[in-house]
């Protein structure tokens, strides 16, 4: 297992005067996996990424990087050697406005020692991946924020590194571009790249990551696969929609649904809750996550003449709440107070469990 480790953070700490931006992080990233680094803004994600890129020096702890089959401790003496096989996109990249993507990407590829004869071809290939071939010779100052972000991601993979580190790669991108970046990340994984991806958007991370590390206030509060995190939660949330919007009093309807599904959710009575989101018109039922219970709930709802047109258990659903609770235990969420209190109880359990 140790031979698989590509990057290791060991007790990594960064202190700015009296403020701990990153505190005692222990993390291992294995070959070929995508690790999502999740946390709210200011949690310490970018600081960690910058330490990995040697833009900041750790106050304490170590960073180990695999190169030529050997895991080596990152230091000023070997940083060129160890970082040579990593492509970085740190924070929102700012490019020189009066140059073209072709010029700047060629420069970056050459800096990283990409074979000179292949540089031109490589630039065109990478630009084509992002669908920006028509813009390759236009000045970057005319680009939108999203386009600049794409050039930033392109610059990270220009030299074809084995490890790609992306800090908030989807920031400022439109949905189409986000999908392109996500697809690109999955393509990179497919060809064996190791990817360390930071984001404050759980959805973005849950779409691609094999494992997720959650950081808040500089501390790592969870690190596991999405499935394991959900398994640790042992609970999940059913989302369903009715063919018509409820006509009767929604409170009565929720009460009725709660009555009929409570025996089927597989969780203790005091943790049960059913909720309705008026904006999305989606009902939510908290249950133990077992497919059998899920099926029983669906059958019961149908038997009780609820005309359901959409019934699902979104993967990010519970995790999103789990994440929000972990990083902001006192935060306000969309759920009603009753549901929220129940969730709070559960999340407290979870936090204890994960820690």
């Amino acid at each position: 297992m140790n031979n698989d480790v590509m990057i290791r953070f060991s007790n990594l700490t960064k202190k700015f005067k009296d403020f701990y931006a990153v505190s005692n992080i222990d993390l291992e990233i294995r070959k070929g996996e995508i690790v999502g680094f999740l946390g709210p803004n200011g949690a310490g994600k970018s600081t960690t990424m910058k330490m990995l890129a040697y833009l900041l020096k750790p106050s304490e702890g170590e960073i180990w990087i695999r190169s030529n089959g050997e895991l080596k401790k990152l230091s000023s003496h070997n940083k060129d050697y160890l970082l040579d096989n990593i492509g970085f996109l740190i924070e929102n990249p700012t490019f020189y406005g009066n140059v073209t993507p072709r010029l700047v990407l060629k420069y970056f590829a050459k800096l990283k020692g990409y074979p000179r004869k292949q540089v031109n071809k490589r630039v065109e290939e990478v630009i084509a991946i992002f669908g920006m071939s028509d813009w390759i010779d236009k000045k970057i100052k005319t680009f939108s924020k999203g386009m600049r972000q794409k050039i930033g991601v392109a610059s990270a993979i220009m030299h074809d590194p084995d490890i790609v580190v992306l800090d908030e790669p989807s920031t400022g991108l439109d949905p189409q571009a986000r999908r392109e970046v996500r697809d690109l990340i999955l393509k990179l994984k497919k060809i064996g790249k190791t990817i360390f991806l930071s984001s404050h958007l759980l959805y973005e991370v849950s779409e691609v990551a094999d494992r997720v590390a959650i950081i808040n206030n500089g501390k790592l509060i969870a690190f596991d696969t999405l499935d394991n995190l959900e398994a640790k939660a042992k609970k999940s949330i059913i989302h369903f929609e009715l063919i018509r919007q409820p006509e009767e009093n929604i409170e009565n309807m929720l009460k009725n649904i709660e009555e009929i599904v409570t025996p089927l959710t597989g969780i203790s009575t005091e943790l049960n809750w059913v909720d309705y989101n008026e904006d999305s018109k989606v009902f939510q039922i908290f249950f133990n996550g077992h497919p059998e219970n899920q099926l029983n709930i669906l059958e019961t709802l149908l038997k009780n003449r609820y005309k359901i047109i959409e019934f699902s258990v979104p993967k990010a659903g519970l995790l999103e709440n789990l994440f929000l609770e972990m990083v902001n235990p006192e935060g306000n969420h969309d759920f009603n107070n009753n549901s929220q209190n129940n969730l709070n109880n559960l999340e407290k359990e979870l936090i204890m469990e994960v820690q």
Binding site: F16, A21, T47, K50, A53, Y54, L55, L56, K57, D80, Y81, L83, D84, I86, F88, I90, E91, N92, P93, T94, F95, Y96, N98, V99, L103, V104, Y107, F108, K110, L111, K112, G113, Y114, P115, Q118, E125, A128, I129, F130, G131, M132, S133, D134, W135, G146, M147, G152, S155, H159, D160, Q176, A177, E180, L184, K187, L188, K190, I191, G192
Partner: protein, 303 residues
């Protein structure tokens, strides 16, 4: 608009790339590539500065032609004519171009956070050397252009070009590198490119010029008997003075205050050639060393 219909067809191929190994050769390549990139990136800036040089040259021509038309004394020979142009505004032009080319050399990386893109790709020393060389080449090209203009008009007016113009050009190149080094050092401390340019111009034009005056007023050196070797801009005087070396390096004036005895005081006009060579060399070495150490130590946002 951005989407390329062909992009779904594009697959990332898995292939092994033999990148150039890290080491001296890579470092030299990085410097070369940085020079090439910086030359292209600063092309617009170069053209603007070139226009400023042309503007100042035209201004010089107008002043000297007007003076001649008004019957004021004109330069006795070609060397004096060239010297006239250099004394008129050339020092200012060197400072302006030094600030324009050197102001962003380090500060920009932190101001615009381009450091996040660059530093994981190359050592700071390689970036700094490449940038310095590129910007110095552009600055030197501006100087050359100005000298060609001055040589051209001197040839028209005097049917000869003084050979000492080559000495002067050599000193101009050397001194301009010292100015660029000073601005680079300043840039390593500043957070903003514009502020670096403004501060650079103010310090070189105002502060450096005030130092000799302040020293003279303080009375530390009774007769100003020591050359102003500690003032960077003092060395710039050799650029014009070298047209007619050897010159008296100083003049002696007698100053008498109201109730005091008359005092002889020296005004330093130019450094000696050997003094200027070593003085500028020491300045460049110290300034670039400070700039490099500061650049090396300076960290990203959050420092």
């Amino acid at each position: 608009m951005l989407s390329n219909p062909k992009q779904d067809e594009i697959e990332i191929e898995e292939f092994h790339v033999d990148r150039q190994k890290v080491g001296l050769r890579r470092a030299l390549t990085q410097i070369r590539d940085t020079i090439s990139f910086e030359l292209r990136r600063n092309l617009n800036r170069f053209l603007v500065i070139l226009l400023v040089y042309i503007g100042f040259f035209i201004l010089g021509v107008l002043i000297f032609e007007s003076a001649e038309a008004l019957g004021l004394p004109i330069a006795a020979d070609s060397a004096e004519y060239v010297k006239g142009y250099l004394e008129l505004n050339f020092g200012f032009l060197i400072v302006i171009s030094g600030a324009a080319f050197g102001g962003s050399i380090i500060a920009e990386d932190y101001h615009k956070q381009t450091n996040n893109l660059l530093f994981p790709k190359s050592r700071k020393a390689n970036i700094l050397i490449g940038r310095l060389i590129a910007r110095y080449l552009l600055m030197a090209a501006c100087l050359l252009f100005f000298y060609l203009l001055v040589a051209g008009i001197t040839l028209i007016k005097y049917e000869e070009i003084p050979l000492t113009i080559f000495n002067s050009f050599g000193w101009a190149l050397y001194f301009s590198f010292a100015i660029l080094s000073f601005i680079t050092m300043l840039s390593s401390f500043m957070k903003n490119t514009s502020m670096t340019i403004i501060m650079g111009i103010m310090i070189t034009i105002i502060v450096f010029e005030m130092i000799p005056m302040l020293i003279s007023m303080s009375g530390v050196f009774e007769k100003n008997e020591f050359p102003l070797f500690f003032v960077l801009t003092y060395y710039g005087r050799i650029v014009s003075e070298s047209l007619a070396m050897p010159n008296p390096r100083y003049s002696v004036e007698t100053i008498q205050m109201m109730d005091s005895e008359p005092v002889e005081t020296m005004t330093w006009l130019t450094p000696s050639e050997i003094g200027a060579f070593f003085g500028i060399l020491i300045y460049i070495s110290i300034l670039l060393l400070i700039a490099y150490l500061r650049y090396k130590k300076r960290q990203s946002k959050g420092e």
